[in-house]
């Protein structure tokens, strides 16, 4: 059977320090295959995918040696738009992919560029929006979508091209459980229907492992395992290669609601918090982003905010952090003072809130990782603390690097390390585990555990079941929170347009 993609003896040198991102990589992708590409953060998965579709060295800088053939033609001999007809890439960060202003326009962008007939464009748009659960959002502006919704739009934009080779770079990160499962199943099905193949780089193995026909594990730029996906079920194998567990159970986990540990004495209280963006008038079809949310954040505990993409998790976190003002309702410290006012003007332990969002890069103010980390320390705190935190989050080897030169995962670890170094009273993390392999997630969980043990209050918004189930779950339970999610027409969400939990539904 002719190979769709044939990579032989591929080496790639990139980055300011000229490090070898890929070393002697060989990979053959045949029709019908779903290949799961796994490995530690920074092992070269994204670089391999970028090389496979010719982005390196055409657009991203890098020196490539070796041979890459797509459908028997050397990739260098193909124009980029010819590659687009054969291979489609969904980027790691959806913000880097969306090019038009509406969801529908984004799905139509590729077929329009390829000059497909109008009827065919309309058919494809309808089809991919249905597959990705975006039919109800088709006229929405992409800039008003949540991060997870943007991810789905990005994938829809690739699906509409109907390439025979799908290249997906961490497609499941930030997606909610049901969306991740259905989208990956759909891509695998679509590829099978067209006699194509899928190459998917992913840390959350559980969503791909059932569809994968091969597991390829990379380490430091080389392929160290190429074989049956069954190997991922072996604990020792995973530990050796820094992989996450392919399946986990979240016994008392949050399902489309807000969970928190029952608080004896809450540090922070949100009461009847409502939120709508300016210019948006809540309607039955598009309700308010948050409606009457009550939440207690307890010290020495984790509060988990979970829910489908677009349900208002990030908005709630920003309101708790004082970055957004609620349309109505209050967020107060236990002494009754306003959280936003106190957080904005005070410094030091016992008063502050630290927030690490989706884009941590803008938090940095120093030209070196070590100096950046030190800048987060409260006054009169020994510098040893930075080393300690850096070791726990595995960023000590990056001390001499510039914060702006770090990868997404590294900059997220640095931002979380900085926030921990500041010793805030409340630490708020939005999807902290995105881009984390098994080893680094263990580091993160250990650091968060220590933070909570020292009396810190943790608030986490995440859809990563693997991460959530490894938080100290013994105390997690559903609490008396009202949460209104935005409308979803995804079949998996059924007609559930408003999710409310007026009363405690379970207690651990």
């Amino acid at each position: 059977m002719d190979a769709i993609l044939e990579v032989q003896r591929l080496c790639c040198v990139r980055g300011p320090d000229g490090c070898e991102a890929l070393h002697d990589v060989g990979l053959t992708v045949r029709p019908g295959e779903v290949i799961l590409l796994a490995g530690k953060s920074g092992c070269g998965k994204s670089t391999l995918i970028h090389c496979a579709c010719g982005l390196i060295p055409r657009i991203f800088p890098g020196q490539v040696r070796g041979s890459i053939e797509l459908y028997g033609r050397t990739i260098g001999a193909l124009a980029t738009w010819e590659i687009a007809q054969r291979a489609g890439l969904a980027f790691q960060n959806p913000d880097h992919q969306l090019f038009t202003d509406t969801v529908q326009g984004e799905a139509a962008f590729g077929p329009e560029n390829l000059a497909l007939p109008q009827e065919e464009v309309a058919h494809r748009v309808e089809d991919v929006l249905r597959r990705t659960g975006l039919l109800g959002l088709r006229h929405r502006l992409t800039r008003t979508l949540s991060f997870g919704q943007k991810r789905r739009v990005g994938i829809a934009g690739v699906l509409s091209l109907k390439p025979r080779l799908f290249l997906l770079d961490e497609p499941a990160s930030v997606l909610d459980d049901e969306s991740a499962r259905s989208i990956i199943a759909d891509v695998a099905r679509l590829a099978a229907e067209m006699g194509g193949a899928v190459l998917v780089a992913e840390h959350r193995l559980g969503y791909v492992i059932d569809h994968a026909t091969r597991l390829v594990v990379m380490d430091r730029g080389s392929i160290v395992y190429d074989g049956s996906p069954a190997a991922a079920w072996d604990h020792e194998f995973r530990a050796r290669h820094g992989l996450r567990a392919p399946a986990c159970e979240f016994p008392k986990g949050p399902q489309f609601g807000i969970c928190s540990i029952p608080a004896a004495g809450p540090v922070l209280q949100a009461r009847r918090v409502c939120f709508s963006y300016a210019g948006h008038r809540p309607t039955a079809e598009e309700p308010a982003i948050l409606a009457d949310v009550n939440l207690d954040v307890a010290a020495s505990a984790a509060t988990v905010v979970a829910g489908p993409n677009g349900s208002g998790k990030t908005t709630l976190l920003k309101i708790l952090a004082g970055l957004l003002r609620p349309t109505s309702g209050t967020v107060r410290w236990c002494d009754g003072s306003s959280a936003a006012a106190q957080g904005m003007y005070s410094r030091g332990r016992g008063s502050s809130i630290a927030y690490v969002g989706h884009q941590p890069l803008y938090l940095f103010r120093r030209g070196q990782v070590l100096r950046e980390l030190a800048s987060w320390l409260p006054p009169k705190t020994p510098l040893d603390l930075t080393v300690d935190i850096a070791e726990r989050l595995d960023i000590r080897h990056l001390f001499a690097r510039h914060p702006l030169a770090l990868s997404e995962g590294e900059s997220r670890r640095l931002a979380i390390a900085g926030a921990l170094a500041a010793q805030p009273r409340v630490l708020i993390l939005d999807e902290p585990s995105v881009g984390f392999d098994g080893h680094h997630m263990g580091c993160l969980l250990d650091a968060l555990d220590r933070y909570m043990a020292s009396g810190g209050a943790l608030v986490v918004a995440s859809n990563d079941q693997d991460f959530l189930c490894r938080l100290p779950t013994s105390a997690v339970c559903l609490s008396a929170i009202q949460q209104v999610s935005t409308a979803f027409d995804h079949p998996l969400f059924g007609s559930q347009s408003r999710v409310k939990s007026d009363k405690p539904s379970s207690t651990a």
Partner: protein, 237 residues
């Protein structure tokens, strides 16, 4: 005199074909550039301001409504007519800039990237120009998003660490925000270019479009009315 968005001329103006809206913008710009009479300038300012406001998102309870814009336009008209020479000249220059910004803003707020590209192709713009204009429009949105994110992260850092105490630290923070902003924007522009290329952006030949813009009777009427009004205003002068 609040005018409701559901049944007014503003909504109709927002739904016009992009080519009609281009003609309207050109008419407003022509009056803004050619008129040296405060009455005409004030009229153009009022029209541009009204158009901009009507295609903007609904802000429930917003203090500025259609009546306010009309009062602002009329007030500026009277002020310019009766005030001494040099303030009138300054006011006229400001009015011209405002007309250009408001007209452009109204056009971009009411026109999506897809329909703009399709409309430009229909009037015979070369593909390269269409793509450049499309990329420019996209980058404006990116810049706005990045500014929001930088601003939000700055506030998050301040909330955690407190306000910098010396002007030097404030300046350093601003400098770093600018550096991060540029670094991120360049990185994002690179990635977006890559993503667009991998979706056939640079394929030679014409593009098709999901929605083919059509000129309706309303479009012809609006374009004719605008051209006639602009011609009359300038000709009577």
């Amino acid at each position: 005199m609040p005018v409701h968005h559901d049944c007014d001329v503003g909504k109709a103006a927002g739904g016009l074909d992009p080519r009609t809206k281009l003609v309207m913008v050109l008419c407003v710009y022509t009056v803004a550039c050619a008129a040296d009479d405060s009455w005409r300038l004030a009229l153009a300012l009022t029209v541009a301001a009204f158009w901009f406001w009507r295609v903007s998102p609904v802000h429930p309870g917003a203090p500025v409504d259609a009546a306010t814009w009309l009062i602002i336009g009329s007030g500026s008209l009277l002020c310019m007519e009766f005030c001494p020479e040099w303030p009138a000249a300054v006011a006229e220059s400001v009015a011209r800039v405002c007309i250009i910004l408001l007209g452009g803003g109204a056009f971009s707020r009411s026109t999506g990237t897809g329909e703009l590209a399709a409309a430009l192709q229909q009037i015979g713009c070369p593909r390269s120009l269409v793509l450049v204009l499309l990329a420019c429009q996209v980058m404006v949105g990116c810049v706005r998003q990045e500014i929001n994110q930088a601003w939000e992260a700055g506030r998050a850092r301040t909330a955690c660490l407190g306000t910098p105490r010396s002007p030097g630290l404030v300046a350093a923070a601003a400098r770093w925000a600018a550096v991060s902003f540029c670094a991120r924007l360049f990185r994002r522009a690179d990635a977006m270019a890559a993503a667009a290329e991998l979706r056939g952006f640079s394929r030679p030949g014409r593009r098709t479009s999901l929605k083919r813009p059509r000129l309706r009777l309303l479009d012809w009427c609006a374009a004719t009315a605008c051209c006639t009004a602009a011609a009359l205003l300038l000709w009577t002068h």
